[in-house]
Amino acid sequence: MVIFKRVVAAMLMVLVVSVARAELVVEVTQGVEAPTSVAVVPFGNDTGQALPEDVAAIVQQDLGRSGFFQPMLRDNMLGFPTRSEDIFFRDWRLAKMDYVIIGRARAQDDGQIRIEFELHDVLREQAMLSEQVTTARDNLRDAAHLVADRLFERLTGLKGAFSTRIVYVTAEQLGPKRQRFRLQMADWDGARARTILESSEPILSPVWSMDGSKLAYVSFETGKPSIYVQYLASGRRERIQSFPGLNGAPAWSPDGNQLALVLSRDGNPEVYVLDLRSRQLQRITRHYGIDTEPSWSPDGRSLIFTSDRGGQPQIYQLDLASRDLKRLTFQGNYNARGRLTQDGRFLAMVHRSGGGGNGFDIAVQDLKTDRVDVLTQSAMAESPSIAPNGSVVIYATQEGTKGVLAAVSLDGRVQFRMPAVSGDVREPAWSPYLR
């Protein structure tokens, strides 16, 4: 009897213990919303010659401008290790770094330069990435952006957009009634700008095809607005269509076969879609108000556009198959020039909040929650364009009387100006991924 009781007790005990073995779960719902701290240590140079570019500095700037990272200032670094065995993780930990990036440049037999770079997790004290990029000596900037892309992807899981390009239009007043307009292309950070098209007549609304091989824009070179397509590799241009009245605001469909555009040939601006293969034109909007600035949703099934049909400019979405129209923006008395992130979740736009006296700012709306965040404190922001990975919005604004380019991370944490160029800068457009 006693034994039986003991056995039962033992069995109960086992039961209790096995119940207790179920792992304890702790839940963490709050944290510090802060960019990831990262130290980009100056890369070593084993090439025997001074290098034309500071690769680590470019990487550091790229990562910092993405808004995702808070790079450590070089002046604060205790040492400049270039090899993993020289990293004293404790020092970096004390400096509150989460990651440390090291690298070195080496000369190859064929005259090229090999950039070896490593990403180390300071807190886990382990290497997360060790790769190399080989490049020509005069192309170190591309190599640096590529390094930044690889690091960014490893750290965030998002594809880096540092090797992408932007295009924008500059206008210079050369003399009375003499202007020079240029369509320019630059690295995403504004460096290495080059001219694609130069004209004495205005150039407007440049836009990239989704494969990054060509641009569409509006040019007044014939005296009236016409839409052109220009192939980047060859420089070949073609005029797509010209109708009486306004021809503007072209936008490539994701598959590259269609072009959305705005025509005023029927009286007031309406959105049309042009099939580039059949040259067939399809009218999309039909309203007495102004419908303009069309943009495709990433899935190509709908268009968003700006319309003042509600009495003030707001952004609407039209389903191309069902023709269902939906108003997207309700906050503020002016929302225009909407652009969607590639995941379709966020809408960046020019926004003016109600109450009067407010200028135009860049705002982002979460289409899931309809929360609107104003990202800038600029009075004259316009033409937002989103990086393909959705991290940064580039836009045009006024600095004094001069138009400049600026950018803001999608969360508003990081804002920066693009390098100054001669003349007014307007209408930036961010390329898709180019590789």
Binding site: E23, L24, V26, V32, S37, L410
Partner: protein, 302 residues
């Protein structure tokens, strides 16, 4: 209350044992003493000295007689040589002398007889005494046997009493055992209650540790820009008893690399959770050595 009934039988048993010991002990002493006292008397009774004395005396007398006879002969030869005439007187003297001699001889003989008789008498006396001693010894033995018998009887009695006491003791022990079992059950109930209380206490400790870990991790978690409300990563943490993080790794991914990294890094950023060292080691082993931490941001902008 139970101890009183225990003492009385014990004292009784002690008394019985002590009595038996006293009785047996005195007899033992007597028996030891008697033969020791008897033995020297028995040896004195042997008395070979007396016989030796008688023989010595006889020897002396014989030597004296021998000398007297030699002197007589010398005197007779003198007398014969000097006086023949005196033969008659000498003969008469001789006859007188012979008569005296005979009388003396008879007297000596009688004396010897008497001494012998005395020796015999003494021997008999000795024998009688020996017999008496034997008889006494037999009596003592009988007494001893009787004492032994008595001791046996008393021992048996003591044994019987002891057995009775043992039975009483066994009965008492059975009752005690029943009482003990009852007590045991009561204790077990109490123990279970205590264990339940301890379980509640460990639950409370575990709860405390949960909030402690949560607060430590909330301070150390750098939520990356890619984080969105509704993302969820589960990190498994293995602790050392000191509270140091042995290892932490993604148990269930959020699908976002930066988010997963930030969760694991939050753990490594804390590195040591000092309050673990204050937790009971058994509880630590059972509940806290391995934990799952769910990182699920709330109230993010997106």
């Amino acid at each position: 209350m139970e101890t009183r009934s225990y003492i009385i039988p014990f004292i009784l048993a002690l008394g019985v044992h002590a009595g038996a010991l006293v009785l047996l002990g005195t007899h033992w002493v007597d028996q030891e003493a008697t033969p020791q006292r008897m033995t020297p008397r028995h040896i004195e009774a042997q008395m070979i000295d007396l016989t030796a004395l008688a023989q010595r005396q006889a020897e002396k007398e014989r030597a004296a007689r021998e000398q007297a006879r030699a002197e007589e002969q010398a005197r007779a030869a003198e007398r014969r040589r000097m006086q023949q005439a005196e033969d008659k007187r000498r003969q008469a003297l001789e006859r007188r002398k012979a008569k005296a001699e005979a009388e003396r001889k008879a007297k000596a003989e009688a004396e010897r007889e008497r001494r012998q008789a005395l020796a015999r008498q003494r021997e008999a006396e000795q024998k009688r005494k020996a017999e008496e001693a034997a008889k006494r010894k037999a009596a003592a033995e009988e007494q001893k046997r009787k004492a032994q018998e008595q001791a046996r009887r008393e021992a048996a009695e003591a044994k019987r009493k002891a057995e009775a006491a043992a039975r009483a003791e066994a009965e008492r022990q059975r009752q005690q055992a029943r009482a003990d079992a009852e007590l045991e059950r009561a204790l077990a109930r109490e123990r279970q209650a205590r264990e339940a209380a301890a379980r509640r206490a460990s639950e409370s400790v575990v709860g405390d540790m949960q909030s402690y870990i949560t607060s430590m991790l909330q301070d150390s978690w750098r939520i990356p820009s890619t984080a969105r409300n509704g993302m969820e990563a589960v990190v498994a943490i293995h602790f050392l008893p000191s509270g140091e993080v042995d290892q932490a790794y993604i148990h269930t991914s959020s699908g976002n690399a930066a988010f997963d990294n930030s969760a694991v890094q939050a753990v490594y950023r804390v590195k040591v959770f000092p309050r673990f060292s204050q937790v009971d080691p058994v509880l630590f082993e059972r509940r806290l050595r391995k934990l799952l931490v769910k990182f699920r941001p709330e109230g993010l902008r997106w």
